[in-house]
Protein backbone atom coordinates (compact mmCIF):
# COMPACT_ATOMS: atom_id res chain seq x y z
CA UNK A 1 0.00 0.00 0.00
CA UNK A 2 1.33 3.37 -0.91
CA UNK A 3 2.85 5.70 1.65
CA UNK A 4 0.52 8.62 2.35
CA UNK A 5 2.43 11.78 3.20
CA UNK A 6 0.71 15.01 4.20
CA UNK A 7 2.77 18.20 4.25
CA UNK A 8 1.39 21.12 6.23
CA UNK A 9 2.24 24.42 4.57
CA UNK A 10 1.41 28.03 5.31
CA UNK A 11 0.81 31.02 3.11
CA UNK A 12 2.62 33.91 4.80
CA UNK A 13 3.24 37.60 4.08
CA UNK A 14 6.51 38.08 2.20
CA UNK A 15 9.13 38.76 4.87
CA UNK A 16 10.88 41.21 2.56
CA UNK A 17 7.70 43.31 2.37
CA UNK A 18 6.40 45.85 4.90
CA UNK A 19 4.52 43.54 7.25
CA UNK A 20 1.96 44.94 9.70
CA UNK A 21 -1.13 44.13 11.75
CA UNK A 22 -4.70 44.76 10.65
CA UNK A 23 -7.20 46.81 12.73
CA UNK A 24 -8.32 43.73 14.69
CA UNK A 25 -4.65 42.98 15.59
CA UNK A 26 -4.48 39.99 13.29
CA UNK A 27 -1.82 39.64 10.59
CA UNK A 28 -2.55 42.01 7.72
CA UNK A 29 -2.62 39.70 4.71
CA UNK A 30 -3.98 42.22 2.21
CA UNK A 31 -1.33 44.91 2.03
CA UNK A 32 1.66 42.61 1.47
CA UNK A 33 2.20 39.92 -1.17
CA UNK A 34 2.08 36.43 0.23
CA UNK A 35 4.00 33.29 -0.57
CA UNK A 36 4.62 29.72 0.52
CA UNK A 37 6.57 30.04 3.79
CA UNK A 38 10.21 29.40 2.98
CA UNK A 39 10.56 27.14 6.00
CA UNK A 40 7.73 25.00 4.65
CA UNK A 41 9.55 24.58 1.33
CA UNK A 42 11.99 22.38 3.27
CA UNK A 43 9.06 20.24 4.39
CA UNK A 44 7.82 19.87 0.83
CA UNK A 45 11.33 18.99 -0.34
CA UNK A 46 11.84 16.26 2.27
CA UNK A 47 8.38 14.83 1.60
CA UNK A 48 9.15 14.66 -2.12
CA UNK A 49 12.51 13.00 -1.41
CA UNK A 50 10.88 10.40 0.83
CA UNK A 51 8.23 9.80 -1.83
CA UNK A 52 10.86 9.43 -4.57
CA UNK A 53 12.85 7.00 -2.45
CA UNK A 54 9.79 4.93 -1.65
CA UNK A 55 8.65 4.72 -5.25
CA UNK A 56 5.10 4.23 -4.07
CA UNK A 57 3.92 7.30 -2.21
CA UNK A 58 1.43 10.07 -2.52
CA UNK A 59 2.23 13.57 -1.29
CA UNK A 60 -0.66 15.81 -0.29
CA UNK A 61 -0.03 19.43 0.65
CA UNK A 62 -2.43 20.92 3.16
CA UNK A 63 -3.01 24.51 4.10
CA UNK A 64 -5.45 26.49 6.19
CA UNK A 65 -5.86 30.00 4.88
CA UNK A 66 -7.78 32.54 2.82
CA UNK A 67 -8.37 32.39 -0.96
CA UNK A 68 -4.85 33.59 -1.82
CA UNK A 69 -3.36 30.68 0.13
CA UNK A 70 -3.97 28.56 -2.96
CA UNK A 71 -0.80 30.19 -4.34
CA UNK A 72 1.19 28.35 -1.69
CA UNK A 73 -0.47 25.08 -2.66
CA UNK A 74 0.16 25.77 -6.34
CA UNK A 75 3.85 26.31 -5.66
CA UNK A 76 4.10 23.05 -3.72
CA UNK A 77 2.23 21.22 -6.48
CA UNK A 78 4.57 22.63 -9.11
CA UNK A 79 7.51 21.40 -7.02
CA UNK A 80 6.04 17.92 -7.40
CA UNK A 81 3.37 17.23 -4.76
CA UNK A 82 0.50 15.10 -6.07
CA UNK A 83 -2.56 16.83 -4.69
CA UNK A 84 -3.64 19.57 -2.34
CA UNK A 85 -6.22 20.27 0.35
CA UNK A 86 -7.24 23.84 1.10
CA UNK A 87 -9.25 24.54 4.24
CA UNK A 88 -10.87 27.92 3.75
CA UNK A 89 -13.68 29.41 5.77
CA UNK A 90 -14.45 33.01 6.76
CA UNK A 91 -14.92 31.86 10.36
CA UNK A 92 -11.28 30.77 10.52
CA UNK A 93 -10.07 34.39 10.51
CA UNK A 94 -8.13 35.11 13.68
CA UNK A 95 -7.68 31.48 14.71
CA UNK A 96 -4.74 30.91 17.05
CA UNK A 97 -2.31 28.03 16.99
CA UNK A 98 -4.53 25.80 19.15
CA UNK A 99 -7.44 26.23 16.76
CA UNK A 100 -5.24 25.89 13.69
CA UNK A 101 -3.89 22.58 14.95
CA UNK A 102 -7.48 21.35 15.49
CA UNK A 103 -8.39 22.23 11.91
CA UNK A 104 -5.21 20.70 10.49
CA UNK A 105 -5.70 17.49 12.51
CA UNK A 106 -9.25 17.02 11.24
CA UNK A 107 -8.16 17.66 7.66
CA UNK A 108 -5.23 15.24 8.01
CA UNK A 109 -7.51 12.54 9.40
CA UNK A 110 -9.97 13.13 6.60
CA UNK A 111 -7.21 12.89 4.00
CA UNK A 112 -5.62 9.82 5.56
CA UNK A 113 -1.93 9.69 6.44
CA UNK A 114 1.09 7.61 7.32
CA UNK A 115 3.45 10.54 7.75
CA UNK A 116 2.84 14.23 8.42
CA UNK A 117 5.69 16.57 7.51
CA UNK A 118 5.94 20.14 8.80
CA UNK A 119 8.48 22.92 8.54
CA UNK A 120 10.24 24.00 11.74
CA UNK A 121 7.99 27.06 12.17
CA UNK A 122 6.08 29.59 10.10
CA UNK A 123 7.94 32.71 9.07
CA UNK A 124 5.14 34.99 10.30
CA UNK A 125 3.89 33.58 13.62
CA UNK A 126 7.11 31.59 14.29
CA UNK A 127 5.39 29.55 17.01
CA UNK A 128 6.93 26.25 15.96
CA UNK A 129 4.51 24.18 18.04
CA UNK A 130 2.16 22.86 15.37
CA UNK A 131 4.03 19.53 15.01
CA UNK A 132 3.73 18.83 18.73
CA UNK A 133 0.06 19.86 18.80
CA UNK A 134 -0.69 17.66 15.80
CA UNK A 135 1.07 14.73 17.42
CA UNK A 136 -1.18 15.04 20.47
CA UNK A 137 -4.35 15.53 18.48
CA UNK A 138 -3.63 12.68 16.09
CA UNK A 139 -2.33 10.40 18.84
CA UNK A 140 0.86 9.53 16.99
CA UNK A 141 4.57 9.99 17.81
CA UNK A 142 6.41 13.19 16.96
CA UNK A 143 9.98 13.48 15.77
CA UNK A 144 10.73 17.16 15.42
CA UNK A 145 13.42 19.55 14.17
CA UNK A 146 15.18 17.04 11.96
CA UNK A 147 18.04 17.98 9.69
CA UNK A 148 17.92 14.58 8.02
CA UNK A 149 14.92 12.33 7.56
CA UNK A 150 13.99 9.12 5.79
CA UNK A 151 11.46 6.31 5.88
CA UNK A 152 12.46 2.65 6.05
CA UNK A 153 9.63 0.17 6.11
CA UNK A 154 7.19 1.27 8.76
CA UNK A 155 9.68 3.52 10.51
CA UNK A 156 10.66 7.14 10.11
CA UNK A 157 14.26 7.88 11.06
CA UNK A 158 16.02 11.17 11.41
CA UNK A 159 18.83 13.23 12.86
CA UNK A 160 18.37 16.20 15.15
CA UNK A 161 21.38 18.45 15.51
CA UNK A 162 21.30 20.15 18.89
CA UNK A 163 23.74 22.54 20.53
CA UNK A 164 25.09 19.90 22.87
CA UNK A 165 24.41 16.66 21.05
CA UNK A 166 23.27 15.09 17.84
CA UNK A 167 20.36 12.73 18.33
CA UNK A 168 19.41 9.90 16.01
CA UNK A 169 15.69 9.38 16.37
CA UNK A 170 13.08 7.06 15.02
CA UNK A 171 9.39 6.43 15.37
CA UNK A 172 6.97 3.94 13.96
CA UNK A 173 4.46 5.18 11.43
CA UNK A 174 2.07 6.87 11.48
CA UNK A 175 4.00 9.84 12.84
CA UNK A 176 4.51 13.58 12.68
CA UNK A 177 7.91 15.04 11.79
CA UNK A 178 9.24 18.54 11.33
CA UNK A 179 12.36 19.44 9.37
CA UNK A 180 14.73 22.36 9.73
CA UNK A 181 16.28 24.71 7.22
CA UNK A 182 19.40 22.50 7.40
CA UNK A 183 17.61 19.53 5.86
CA UNK A 184 18.59 20.37 2.28
CA UNK A 185 17.83 23.08 -0.25
CA UNK A 186 14.32 23.00 -1.63
CA UNK A 187 14.13 22.31 -5.35
CA UNK A 188 12.91 24.84 -7.87
CA UNK A 189 9.66 23.97 -9.53
CA UNK A 190 10.33 23.08 -13.17
CA UNK A 191 8.49 24.53 -16.12
CA UNK A 192 6.80 21.17 -16.63
CA UNK A 193 5.93 21.10 -12.96
CA UNK A 194 4.18 24.45 -13.28
CA UNK A 195 2.18 23.26 -16.25
CA UNK A 196 1.34 19.96 -14.56
CA UNK A 197 0.29 21.68 -11.32
CA UNK A 198 -2.67 23.17 -13.10
CA UNK A 199 -4.14 19.72 -13.65
CA UNK A 200 -3.57 18.41 -10.13
CA UNK A 201 -6.55 18.15 -7.81
CA UNK A 202 -7.08 20.79 -5.12
CA UNK A 203 -9.79 19.83 -2.64
CA UNK A 204 -11.53 22.70 -0.85
CA UNK A 205 -12.91 22.09 2.61
CA UNK A 206 -14.74 24.33 5.05
CA UNK A 207 -15.41 23.95 8.78
CA UNK A 208 -18.65 22.06 8.13
CA UNK A 209 -16.80 19.48 6.08
CA UNK A 210 -14.48 18.90 9.03
CA UNK A 211 -17.22 18.87 11.66
CA UNK A 212 -15.80 21.88 13.48
CA UNK A 213 -18.10 24.47 15.06
CA UNK A 214 -17.36 28.09 14.16
CA UNK A 215 -17.03 29.15 17.81
CA UNK A 216 -14.25 26.61 18.42
CA UNK A 217 -11.98 28.59 16.16
CA UNK A 218 -11.57 32.16 14.92
CA UNK A 219 -10.90 35.16 17.13
CA UNK A 220 -13.68 34.17 19.53
CA UNK A 221 -12.37 30.65 20.03
CA UNK A 222 -8.74 31.69 20.44
CA UNK A 223 -7.06 30.91 23.78
CA UNK A 224 -4.84 33.92 23.34
CA UNK A 225 -5.70 37.46 22.31
CA UNK A 226 -3.56 40.31 21.07
CA UNK A 227 -4.61 43.41 23.02
CA UNK A 228 -2.52 45.89 21.12
CA UNK A 229 0.32 46.04 18.64
CA UNK A 230 2.77 48.87 18.19
CA UNK A 231 5.09 49.26 15.25
CA UNK A 232 8.76 49.17 16.15
CA UNK A 233 9.98 52.78 16.36
CA UNK A 234 12.26 53.92 13.57
CA UNK A 235 15.95 53.43 14.26
CA UNK A 236 17.57 56.58 15.66
CA UNK A 237 21.11 57.78 15.22
CA UNK A 238 22.27 56.59 18.64
CA UNK A 239 24.79 58.03 21.03
CA UNK A 240 28.45 58.24 20.21
CA UNK A 241 30.81 58.11 23.16
CA UNK A 242 34.14 59.76 22.45
CA UNK A 243 36.95 58.55 24.61
CA UNK A 244 38.82 61.54 26.00
CA UNK A 245 40.01 59.82 29.14
CA UNK A 246 36.49 59.45 30.55
CA UNK A 247 35.15 56.99 27.94
CA UNK A 248 34.63 54.07 30.29
CA UNK A 249 32.75 56.18 32.77
CA UNK A 250 30.53 57.64 30.07
CA UNK A 251 29.75 54.16 28.69
CA UNK A 252 28.77 52.96 32.14
CA UNK A 253 26.59 56.00 32.67
CA UNK A 254 24.89 55.44 29.35
CA UNK A 255 24.21 51.76 30.07
CA UNK A 256 22.92 52.65 33.52
CA UNK A 257 20.63 55.29 32.09
CA UNK A 258 19.17 52.63 29.75
CA UNK A 259 18.84 50.27 32.73
CA UNK A 260 21.20 47.70 31.19
CA UNK A 261 23.37 47.80 34.32
Amino acid sequence: MSLRIVVCVKYVPDATGDRRFADDNTTDRDSVDGLLSELDEYGVEQALKIAEASGDAEVTVLTVGPDDAKDALRKALSMGADKAVHVNDDDIHGTDVIGTSAILAKAIEKTGFDLVVCGMASTDGTMGVIPALLSERLGVPQVTLLSEVGVEGGTVKGRRDGDAATELLEASLPAVVSVTDQSGEARYPSFKGIMAAKKKPVESLDLDDLGIEADEVGLAGAWTAVDSATARPARTAGTIVKDEGEGGKQLAEFLASQKFI
Binding site: R74, S78, Y188, P189, S190, F191, K192, G193, I194, K198
Partner: protein, 389 residues
Amino acid sequence: MNLELNEEQAAVRELAAGFVNREIVPHAAAWDRAEQVDRGIVKKLGALGFLGLTIPEEYGGSGGDYLSYVLVTEELGRGDSSVRGLMSVSLGLVTKSINAYGSEEQKRRWLPRLCAGEALGCFALTEPGTGSDAGNLSTRAVRDGESGDWVLNGAKMFITNGTWAEVALVFARTGGDDPAQAGHRGVSAFLVPTDTPGLTRTTIHGKLGLRGQPTAELAFEDVRVPHSAMLGEEGKGFAVAMAALAKGRMSVAAGCVGLIQASLDAAVAYATQREQFGKPIAAHQLVQEMLADIKVELDAARLLTWRVADLIERGLPFRAEGSVAKLYASEAAVKAANTALQVYGGYGFVDEYPVGKFVRDARVMTLYEGTSQIQKLLIGRELTGINAF
Protein backbone atom coordinates in the same frame (compact mmCIF):
# COMPACT_ATOMS: atom_id res chain seq x y z
CA MET B 1 -6.68 42.89 -26.04
CA ASN B 2 -5.45 41.38 -22.80
CA LEU B 3 -1.94 42.02 -21.53
CA GLU B 4 -2.41 40.13 -18.27
CA LEU B 5 -0.28 37.04 -17.79
CA ASN B 6 -2.18 33.84 -17.16
CA GLU B 7 -1.53 31.80 -14.04
CA GLU B 8 1.16 29.60 -15.61
CA GLN B 9 2.93 32.50 -17.27
CA ALA B 10 3.01 34.38 -13.97
CA ALA B 11 4.34 31.27 -12.22
CA VAL B 12 7.01 30.73 -14.87
CA ARG B 13 8.14 34.34 -14.59
CA GLU B 14 8.30 34.02 -10.80
CA LEU B 15 10.28 30.80 -11.11
CA ALA B 16 12.71 32.39 -13.55
CA ALA B 17 13.06 35.53 -11.43
CA GLY B 18 13.77 33.54 -8.27
CA PHE B 19 16.32 31.38 -10.06
CA VAL B 20 18.04 34.39 -11.61
CA ASN B 21 18.20 36.23 -8.28
CA ARG B 22 19.73 33.27 -6.49
CA GLU B 23 21.82 31.50 -9.09
CA ILE B 24 22.91 34.18 -11.54
CA VAL B 25 22.87 37.75 -10.20
CA PRO B 26 25.29 37.03 -7.31
CA HIS B 27 27.85 35.54 -9.75
CA ALA B 28 27.47 37.70 -12.85
CA ALA B 29 30.33 40.09 -12.03
CA ALA B 30 32.75 37.27 -11.20
CA TRP B 31 31.84 35.35 -14.35
CA ASP B 32 32.39 38.50 -16.37
CA ARG B 33 35.83 39.02 -14.86
CA ALA B 34 36.75 35.37 -15.36
CA GLU B 35 35.49 35.52 -18.96
CA GLN B 36 33.47 32.40 -18.33
CA VAL B 37 30.12 31.71 -16.76
CA ASP B 38 29.92 28.61 -14.55
CA ARG B 39 29.28 25.82 -17.00
CA GLY B 40 27.05 24.13 -14.44
CA ILE B 41 24.44 26.77 -15.21
CA VAL B 42 23.57 24.92 -18.43
CA LYS B 43 22.40 21.81 -16.58
CA LYS B 44 20.46 23.91 -14.12
CA LEU B 45 18.66 25.67 -16.97
CA GLY B 46 17.91 22.25 -18.41
CA ALA B 47 16.59 20.89 -15.11
CA LEU B 48 14.19 23.81 -14.85
CA GLY B 49 12.91 22.98 -18.32
CA PHE B 50 14.01 26.33 -19.74
CA LEU B 51 16.10 24.78 -22.53
CA GLY B 52 13.07 22.85 -23.75
CA LEU B 53 10.55 25.70 -23.86
CA THR B 54 8.16 25.43 -26.85
CA ILE B 55 9.65 22.01 -27.77
CA PRO B 56 7.20 19.06 -27.63
CA GLU B 57 7.41 16.87 -24.53
CA GLU B 58 7.84 13.70 -26.62
CA TYR B 59 11.32 14.96 -27.51
CA GLY B 60 12.19 15.93 -23.96
CA GLY B 61 10.91 19.48 -24.30
CA SER B 62 8.80 21.37 -21.82
CA GLY B 63 6.06 22.57 -24.16
CA GLY B 64 4.80 26.00 -23.25
CA ASP B 65 3.96 29.09 -25.22
CA TYR B 66 6.10 31.81 -26.75
CA LEU B 67 5.24 34.41 -24.14
CA SER B 68 6.57 32.07 -21.45
CA TYR B 69 9.74 31.76 -23.53
CA VAL B 70 9.95 35.56 -23.73
CA LEU B 71 9.40 35.93 -19.97
CA VAL B 72 12.17 33.47 -19.13
CA THR B 73 14.47 35.13 -21.66
CA GLU B 74 13.73 38.55 -20.14
CA GLU B 75 14.61 37.29 -16.67
CA LEU B 76 17.85 35.68 -17.83
CA GLY B 77 18.69 38.91 -19.66
CA ARG B 78 18.10 40.81 -16.44
CA GLY B 79 20.53 38.53 -14.65
CA ASP B 80 23.32 38.09 -17.17
CA SER B 81 23.25 38.58 -20.93
CA SER B 82 25.95 35.92 -21.28
CA VAL B 83 23.69 33.27 -19.79
CA ARG B 84 20.73 34.56 -21.73
CA GLY B 85 22.75 34.29 -24.93
CA LEU B 86 23.63 30.65 -24.22
CA MET B 87 19.93 29.85 -24.18
CA SER B 88 18.95 32.10 -27.07
CA VAL B 89 21.42 30.33 -29.33
CA SER B 90 21.17 26.73 -28.12
CA LEU B 91 17.39 26.65 -27.77
CA GLY B 92 16.30 29.55 -29.96
CA LEU B 93 18.46 28.95 -33.00
CA VAL B 94 19.53 25.29 -32.87
CA THR B 95 17.02 23.21 -30.89
CA LYS B 96 14.05 24.95 -32.48
CA SER B 97 15.52 24.50 -35.97
CA ILE B 98 15.99 20.77 -35.39
CA ASN B 99 12.44 20.58 -34.11
CA ALA B 100 11.10 22.44 -37.15
CA TYR B 101 13.22 20.88 -39.92
CA GLY B 102 14.71 17.73 -38.47
CA SER B 103 14.03 14.15 -39.49
CA GLU B 104 12.61 11.86 -36.83
CA GLU B 105 16.10 10.40 -36.36
CA GLN B 106 17.69 13.85 -35.97
CA LYS B 107 15.06 14.88 -33.45
CA ARG B 108 15.49 11.71 -31.41
CA ARG B 109 19.25 12.04 -31.49
CA TRP B 110 19.60 15.67 -30.44
CA LEU B 111 16.47 17.16 -28.90
CA PRO B 112 16.31 15.26 -25.58
CA ARG B 113 19.91 16.10 -24.70
CA LEU B 114 19.66 19.72 -25.82
CA CYS B 115 16.45 20.20 -23.82
CA ALA B 116 17.97 18.62 -20.72
CA GLY B 117 21.07 20.83 -20.87
CA GLU B 118 23.26 17.77 -21.34
CA ALA B 119 24.39 19.25 -24.64
CA LEU B 120 24.58 22.72 -26.11
CA GLY B 121 24.12 23.75 -29.71
CA CYS B 122 25.86 26.46 -31.69
CA PHE B 123 24.73 28.21 -34.86
CA ALA B 124 27.48 28.48 -37.44
CA LEU B 125 26.38 30.93 -40.12
CA THR B 126 28.66 33.98 -39.88
CA GLU B 127 32.08 33.74 -41.52
CA PRO B 128 35.17 35.92 -41.36
CA GLY B 129 34.19 37.47 -44.68
CA THR B 130 30.39 37.40 -44.47
CA GLY B 131 28.29 38.89 -41.69
CA SER B 132 25.26 40.82 -42.89
CA ASP B 133 25.75 39.30 -46.35
CA ALA B 134 25.29 35.79 -44.95
CA GLY B 135 23.93 34.38 -48.21
CA ASN B 136 27.36 34.78 -49.78
CA LEU B 137 29.03 32.44 -47.34
CA SER B 138 31.96 30.46 -48.69
CA THR B 139 32.22 27.36 -46.49
CA ARG B 140 31.82 24.47 -48.88
CA ALA B 141 30.32 21.03 -48.59
CA VAL B 142 31.18 18.61 -51.39
CA ARG B 143 29.54 15.23 -51.78
CA ASP B 144 31.84 12.24 -51.87
CA GLY B 145 30.63 10.19 -54.82
CA GLU B 146 31.58 6.86 -53.27
CA SER B 147 30.36 7.09 -49.71
CA GLY B 148 27.66 9.69 -50.21
CA ASP B 149 29.18 11.65 -47.28
CA TRP B 150 29.52 15.42 -47.32
CA VAL B 151 32.98 16.92 -46.81
CA LEU B 152 33.06 20.43 -45.32
CA ASN B 153 35.83 23.01 -45.65
CA GLY B 154 35.84 26.62 -44.50
CA ALA B 155 35.69 28.83 -41.41
CA LYS B 156 33.03 30.33 -39.16
CA MET B 157 33.36 33.41 -36.98
CA PHE B 158 31.86 34.80 -33.73
CA ILE B 159 30.09 31.53 -32.93
CA THR B 160 28.31 31.73 -29.58
CA ASN B 161 28.66 28.48 -27.56
CA GLY B 162 31.27 27.46 -30.13
CA THR B 163 33.72 25.77 -27.76
CA TRP B 164 31.04 24.30 -25.49
CA ALA B 165 28.61 23.00 -28.07
CA GLU B 166 28.29 19.30 -28.88
CA VAL B 167 26.45 19.97 -32.09
CA ALA B 168 26.96 22.76 -34.59
CA LEU B 169 24.27 23.79 -37.02
CA VAL B 170 26.53 24.62 -39.94
CA PHE B 171 25.54 26.40 -43.12
CA ALA B 172 27.68 25.50 -46.13
CA ARG B 173 27.59 25.94 -49.87
CA THR B 174 26.51 22.72 -51.62
CA GLY B 175 25.83 24.31 -54.98
CA GLY B 176 29.48 24.40 -56.00
CA ASP B 177 30.34 26.98 -58.65
CA ASP B 178 27.05 26.62 -60.47
CA PRO B 179 25.95 30.23 -61.21
CA ALA B 180 22.32 29.16 -60.86
CA GLN B 181 23.11 28.24 -57.27
CA ALA B 182 25.09 31.35 -56.37
CA GLY B 183 24.25 33.28 -53.20
CA HIS B 184 21.70 31.86 -50.80
CA ARG B 185 20.28 29.39 -53.32
CA GLY B 186 23.22 27.02 -53.03
CA VAL B 187 23.36 26.78 -49.23
CA SER B 188 22.49 23.69 -47.16
CA ALA B 189 22.34 23.13 -43.40
CA PHE B 190 24.19 20.35 -41.55
CA LEU B 191 24.15 19.06 -37.98
CA VAL B 192 27.82 18.48 -37.27
CA PRO B 193 28.91 16.81 -34.00
CA THR B 194 31.72 19.03 -32.75
CA ASP B 195 34.00 16.06 -32.06
CA THR B 196 34.10 15.25 -35.77
CA PRO B 197 37.73 15.00 -36.96
CA GLY B 198 38.91 18.07 -38.85
CA LEU B 199 36.82 20.55 -36.85
CA THR B 200 38.89 22.86 -34.65
CA ARG B 201 37.48 25.47 -32.34
CA THR B 202 39.30 28.48 -30.96
CA THR B 203 38.00 30.75 -28.22
CA ILE B 204 37.78 34.42 -29.13
CA HIS B 205 39.12 36.58 -26.29
CA GLY B 206 39.01 40.31 -25.76
CA LYS B 207 35.31 40.88 -26.30
CA LEU B 208 33.90 44.19 -25.06
CA GLY B 209 30.87 42.47 -23.55
CA LEU B 210 29.25 39.04 -23.20
CA ARG B 211 32.58 38.02 -21.76
CA GLY B 212 31.17 35.09 -19.85
CA GLN B 213 29.95 33.49 -23.03
CA PRO B 214 32.15 31.07 -24.97
CA THR B 215 32.47 32.66 -28.39
CA ALA B 216 34.60 30.85 -30.93
CA GLU B 217 36.06 30.65 -34.36
CA LEU B 218 35.45 27.32 -36.08
CA ALA B 219 37.72 25.87 -38.76
CA PHE B 220 36.59 22.99 -41.00
CA GLU B 221 39.26 20.91 -42.70
CA ASP B 222 37.80 17.96 -44.59
CA VAL B 223 35.12 17.50 -41.95
CA ARG B 224 33.14 14.47 -43.07
CA VAL B 225 29.48 13.91 -42.13
CA PRO B 226 26.96 11.43 -43.53
CA HIS B 227 24.11 12.61 -45.72
CA SER B 228 21.76 12.00 -42.78
CA ALA B 229 23.40 15.01 -41.06
CA MET B 230 21.78 17.40 -43.52
CA LEU B 231 19.01 19.44 -41.87
CA GLY B 232 16.17 20.15 -44.27
CA GLU B 233 16.54 19.83 -48.01
CA GLU B 234 19.65 20.27 -50.06
CA GLY B 235 19.94 23.88 -51.24
CA LYS B 236 17.28 25.06 -48.77
CA GLY B 237 19.61 25.73 -45.86
CA PHE B 238 19.34 29.48 -46.08
CA ALA B 239 15.60 29.24 -45.39
CA VAL B 240 16.45 27.26 -42.24
CA ALA B 241 18.82 30.02 -41.14
CA MET B 242 16.39 32.83 -41.88
CA ALA B 243 13.50 31.09 -40.12
CA ALA B 244 15.70 30.61 -37.05
CA LEU B 245 16.86 34.21 -37.09
CA ALA B 246 13.33 35.54 -37.55
CA LYS B 247 12.31 34.03 -34.22
CA GLY B 248 15.76 34.70 -32.82
CA ARG B 249 15.08 38.43 -33.10
CA MET B 250 12.30 38.06 -30.56
CA SER B 251 14.71 36.26 -28.28
CA VAL B 252 17.37 38.97 -28.52
CA ALA B 253 14.69 41.62 -28.04
CA ALA B 254 13.48 39.85 -24.90
CA GLY B 255 17.05 39.68 -23.61
CA CYS B 256 17.35 43.41 -24.21
CA VAL B 257 14.13 44.02 -22.28
CA GLY B 258 15.71 42.18 -19.36
CA LEU B 259 18.87 44.24 -19.67
CA ILE B 260 16.85 47.46 -19.66
CA GLN B 261 14.93 46.22 -16.61
CA ALA B 262 18.22 45.53 -14.83
CA SER B 263 19.48 48.99 -15.77
CA LEU B 264 16.31 50.60 -14.42
CA ASP B 265 16.32 48.57 -11.20
CA ALA B 266 19.95 49.48 -10.57
CA ALA B 267 19.46 53.16 -11.41
CA VAL B 268 16.39 53.52 -9.18
CA ALA B 269 18.05 51.74 -6.28
CA TYR B 270 21.14 53.90 -6.52
CA ALA B 271 19.29 57.18 -7.10
CA THR B 272 17.15 56.76 -4.01
CA GLN B 273 20.16 55.89 -1.86
CA ARG B 274 22.97 58.15 -3.02
CA GLU B 275 22.87 61.65 -1.55
CA GLN B 276 24.26 64.84 -3.02
CA PHE B 277 23.47 68.44 -2.04
CA GLY B 278 21.84 67.10 1.13
CA LYS B 279 19.19 64.93 -0.49
CA PRO B 280 18.92 61.71 -2.48
CA ILE B 281 19.93 62.30 -6.07
CA ALA B 282 16.49 60.97 -7.07
CA ALA B 283 15.14 64.20 -5.60
CA HIS B 284 16.89 66.12 -8.37
CA GLN B 285 14.69 66.58 -11.40
CA LEU B 286 17.40 65.86 -13.95
CA VAL B 287 18.01 62.48 -12.34
CA GLN B 288 14.31 61.66 -12.32
CA GLU B 289 14.22 62.53 -15.99
CA MET B 290 16.86 59.87 -16.66
CA LEU B 291 14.89 57.26 -14.70
CA ALA B 292 11.70 58.15 -16.58
CA ASP B 293 13.52 57.90 -19.90
CA ILE B 294 14.64 54.35 -19.11
CA LYS B 295 11.16 53.38 -17.94
CA VAL B 296 9.56 54.55 -21.19
CA GLU B 297 12.11 52.63 -23.25
CA LEU B 298 11.53 49.55 -21.09
CA ASP B 299 7.78 49.53 -21.56
CA ALA B 300 7.98 50.25 -25.29
CA ALA B 301 10.55 47.50 -25.87
CA ARG B 302 8.61 45.01 -23.76
CA LEU B 303 5.30 45.63 -25.51
CA LEU B 304 6.90 45.33 -28.94
CA THR B 305 8.49 42.04 -27.90
CA TRP B 306 5.33 40.60 -26.38
CA ARG B 307 3.51 41.46 -29.61
CA VAL B 308 5.85 39.19 -31.56
CA ALA B 309 5.17 36.32 -29.14
CA ASP B 310 1.46 36.89 -29.53
CA LEU B 311 1.68 36.85 -33.34
CA ILE B 312 3.72 33.62 -33.35
CA GLU B 313 1.28 32.04 -30.92
CA ARG B 314 -1.65 32.92 -33.16
CA GLY B 315 0.09 31.68 -36.30
CA LEU B 316 0.23 35.12 -37.91
CA PRO B 317 3.10 36.70 -39.87
CA PHE B 318 5.63 38.18 -37.47
CA ARG B 319 8.86 38.82 -39.37
CA ALA B 320 8.56 42.59 -39.73
CA GLU B 321 7.32 42.93 -36.17
CA GLY B 322 10.27 40.82 -35.04
CA SER B 323 12.65 43.22 -36.75
CA VAL B 324 10.82 46.21 -35.22
CA ALA B 325 11.13 44.69 -31.74
CA LYS B 326 14.79 43.69 -32.16
CA LEU B 327 15.76 47.07 -33.60
CA TYR B 328 13.94 49.05 -30.94
CA ALA B 329 14.86 46.92 -27.94
CA SER B 330 18.55 46.69 -28.82
CA GLU B 331 18.95 50.42 -29.43
CA ALA B 332 16.95 51.08 -26.25
CA ALA B 333 19.19 48.72 -24.28
CA VAL B 334 22.30 50.64 -25.33
CA LYS B 335 20.67 53.92 -24.30
CA ALA B 336 19.22 52.57 -21.06
CA ALA B 337 22.46 51.03 -19.86
CA ASN B 338 24.30 54.21 -20.73
CA THR B 339 21.74 56.34 -18.89
CA ALA B 340 21.91 54.06 -15.85
CA LEU B 341 25.68 54.53 -15.82
CA GLN B 342 25.15 58.30 -15.93
CA VAL B 343 22.93 58.01 -12.85
CA TYR B 344 25.73 56.15 -11.06
CA GLY B 345 28.30 58.76 -11.97
CA GLY B 346 31.90 57.76 -11.31
CA TYR B 347 30.92 54.63 -9.39
CA GLY B 348 29.31 53.33 -12.55
CA PHE B 349 32.73 53.31 -14.15
CA VAL B 350 34.14 50.63 -11.87
CA ASP B 351 33.09 47.00 -12.00
CA GLU B 352 32.14 46.83 -8.35
CA TYR B 353 28.78 48.06 -9.60
CA PRO B 354 26.79 46.27 -12.29
CA VAL B 355 26.01 49.08 -14.74
CA GLY B 356 29.37 49.11 -16.50
CA LYS B 357 28.78 45.50 -17.50
CA PHE B 358 25.30 46.41 -18.72
CA VAL B 359 26.81 49.02 -21.03
CA ARG B 360 29.35 46.55 -22.41
CA ASP B 361 26.85 43.72 -22.81
CA ALA B 362 24.26 45.99 -24.41
CA ARG B 363 26.60 47.16 -27.11
CA VAL B 364 26.58 43.90 -29.07
CA MET B 365 22.79 43.82 -29.23
CA THR B 366 22.61 46.24 -32.15
CA LEU B 367 25.29 44.24 -33.96
CA TYR B 368 24.44 40.55 -33.84
CA GLU B 369 21.56 38.52 -35.19
CA GLY B 370 21.12 41.27 -37.76
CA THR B 371 22.56 44.76 -37.25
CA SER B 372 20.21 47.69 -36.71
CA GLN B 373 20.86 48.63 -40.31
CA ILE B 374 19.81 45.18 -41.55
CA GLN B 375 16.64 45.37 -39.44
CA LYS B 376 15.80 48.72 -41.07
CA LEU B 377 16.30 47.20 -44.54
CA LEU B 378 13.99 44.32 -43.60
CA ILE B 379 11.35 46.71 -42.30
CA GLY B 380 11.77 48.92 -45.38
CA ARG B 381 11.40 45.95 -47.71
CA GLU B 382 8.24 44.93 -45.88
CA LEU B 383 6.82 48.45 -46.30
CA THR B 384 7.74 49.01 -49.93
CA GLY B 385 8.19 45.61 -51.46
CA ILE B 386 11.57 46.87 -52.69
CA ASN B 387 14.74 45.04 -51.73
CA ALA B 388 17.38 47.66 -50.86
CA PHE B 389 20.08 45.25 -49.71
